[in-house]
């Protein structure tokens, strides 16, 4: 009887210990994942910050109301970039951030920047990792619109195919000899890819394609994340 109790006690202890270690491991994994995503979190380019500050400095005297809007938009963007990493937000929130971002860039670039939005409304709520679309638009502006004296149009299309969210961004490109292969561009893309793969495994995909005079970025991810509720 005593022996049986002892054995049961030891076994129970082992099982408890097992679950305890498991739990610790899970917490640790989560923390590592969190810090990995944190490290990958999109960063606002310093150029953008200083250009925006310059816009504000210029508008304060001539158009204080617009200056105020820029301060509000800029704050929202920074708040988002400081937000807890790996956050998934309703897709409308990300689109709203993008609109604010575009509003600032439009002040800087004037009528050189044109946008076409083709956004399908989801039937059920859909989430997207925070600041996934915005850096892609930033790339499109920095490499597609800014180097062109006459500017151009960025087209954004968002559709739902079965359970997959599909976003396509098309921007013009300068003539082949004038293109700058940019380290920053590649890094931004790599960054988003890594974040997507942490969240969705191989069910997400980010591809780019150079056509004759345009650059197409295609982002696909499932409506539902594979894991991770943080």
């Amino acid at each position: 009887m005593l022996t049986q109790l002892t054995i049961a006690g030891i076994l129970g202890g082992l099982v408890l210990r097992y679950f305890y270690v498991q739990q610790r491991l899970r917490i640790q994994e989560q923390a590592e994942l969190q810090s990995r995503i944190q490290a990958l979190q999109s960063r606002i380019r310093p150029h953008f910050l200083f250009n925006s500050m310059n816009i504000i400095a210029s508008l304060i005297a001539t158009d204080p109301e617009t200056a105020e809007t820029v301060v509000e938009d800029l704050s929202e963007l920074f708040r988002a970039s400081l937000n807890e990493a790996g956050n998934q937000v309703p897709i409308d929130d990300e689109l709203d951030l993008c609109q604010r971002y575009i509003r600032i860039e439009a002040l800087r670039l004037g009528d050189r920047l044109k946008l076409e939005w083709h956004i399908q409304k989801p039937t059920t709520p859909v989430k997207i990792p925070l600041l996934t679309l915005q850096p892609l638009l930033e790339n499109a502006i920095y490499h597609g619109i800014q180097p062109l004296p006459e500017g151009g149009t960025i087209a954004v299309a968002l559709t739902y195919v079965d359970d997959i969210v599909e976003i396509t961004i098309t921007n013009p490109l300068p003539a082949p000899g004038r293109r700058h292969e940019s380290e920053g561009n590649r890094m931004a893309l790599q960054n988003i890819r890594s974040r997507l793969s942490v969240l969705y495994g191989d069910r997400a995909d980010l591809t780019t394609q150079v056509d004759e005079d345009s650059f197409v970025t295609c982002l696909k991810f499932p409506k539902m994340p594979a894991m991770l509720e943080m």
């Binding site: 200083f50 500050m53 310059n54 004037g110």
Partner: protein
């Protein structure tokens, strides 16, 4: 001082103009939105000083400054930029004016006070720090300043004293030897003769003349160009890859 403001962003130009409005010794002559416009306007308005944004589409600020120098347009230049550029760090910042946006009035005033003209040593510095070769060739002609897009250039040909640049609709003379464009645009051009440097992407084919003479046809050009025996293998190799 008479000043030209160059920036592709209108709000940035507005701000500089406003800051200079109340400066008694300074007058803004005009504004340009890119480097090419800046080179033309500068020749026309003859400013003492150019406030020059670095990042601009088409032709950037660094290239614009190089044209001022190669054209012997002795302009003072103050570079303006939103963010520290690596390129500019190679400069002697004491000698070249350099302002960070948003520009502070105090810094602008100081820079205006001490900025002199770019000198030859700084041109050399500009040439080494510029990320790529120039996008344009500049020349002074009877029509004024001409800027020729590099992709339009068919060939450079050296005479005894000068170099002729042949392009789509005409030709200009520049104050260089063939060695300069050859070093700067080496990837895009090929030496076909002691006296000729040809744009690779305009090359169409070879013509064999009598007496072992070989001449090169260029797209969109009636006249053909002598290829010397020494340079023939290199030219053949390029044609093979077309």
């Amino acid at each position: 001082m008479r000043i030209l403001i160059v920036d592709d962003e209108s709000l940035a130009r507005d701000r500089l103009r406003r800051m200079l409005q109340h400066e008694q010794d300074h007058e803004v002559l005009g504004e340009a939105t890119n480097g090419m416009e800046a080179v033309r306007l500068s020749a026309e308005l003859q400013p003492d000083l150019v406030l020059l944004d670095i990042r601009m589409p088409g032709m950037d600020g660094l290239e614009t400054a190089r044209h001022f120098l190669t054209l012997d347009e002795p302009r003072g230049v103050i570079f303006c930029t939103a963010y520290e550029e690596h390129a500019i760090q190679a400069f002697d910042l004491q000698a070249v004016g350099y302002l960070l946006k948003p520009v502070r009035k105090k810094n602008l005033r100081e820079a205006l006070g001490k900025t002199g003209k770019l000198n030859r040593a700084q041109l050399a510095a500009l040439n080494t720090v510029a990320e790529a070769g120039r996008s344009h060739i500049s020349a002074r002609t009877h029509k004024g300043i001409e800027l020729i897009a590099l992709e339009d250039v068919h060939y450079f040909q050296a005479d005894q004293k000068y170099v002729t640049v042949r392009f789509g609709t005409g030709e200009v003379i520049i104050d260089d030897t063939l060695r300069e464009p050859e070093t700067e645009f080496g990837d895009l051009f090929v030496r076909v003769h002691r006296n000729a440097l040809v744009a690779k992407h305009h090359i169409e084919g070879l013509d064999r003349m009598g007496g072992g003479q070989v001449r090169l046809h260029l797209r969109g050009l009636d006249q053909s160009i002598d290829v010397s025996r020494r340079h023939l293998p290199a030219v053949r190799e390029i044609i093979r890859r077309l």
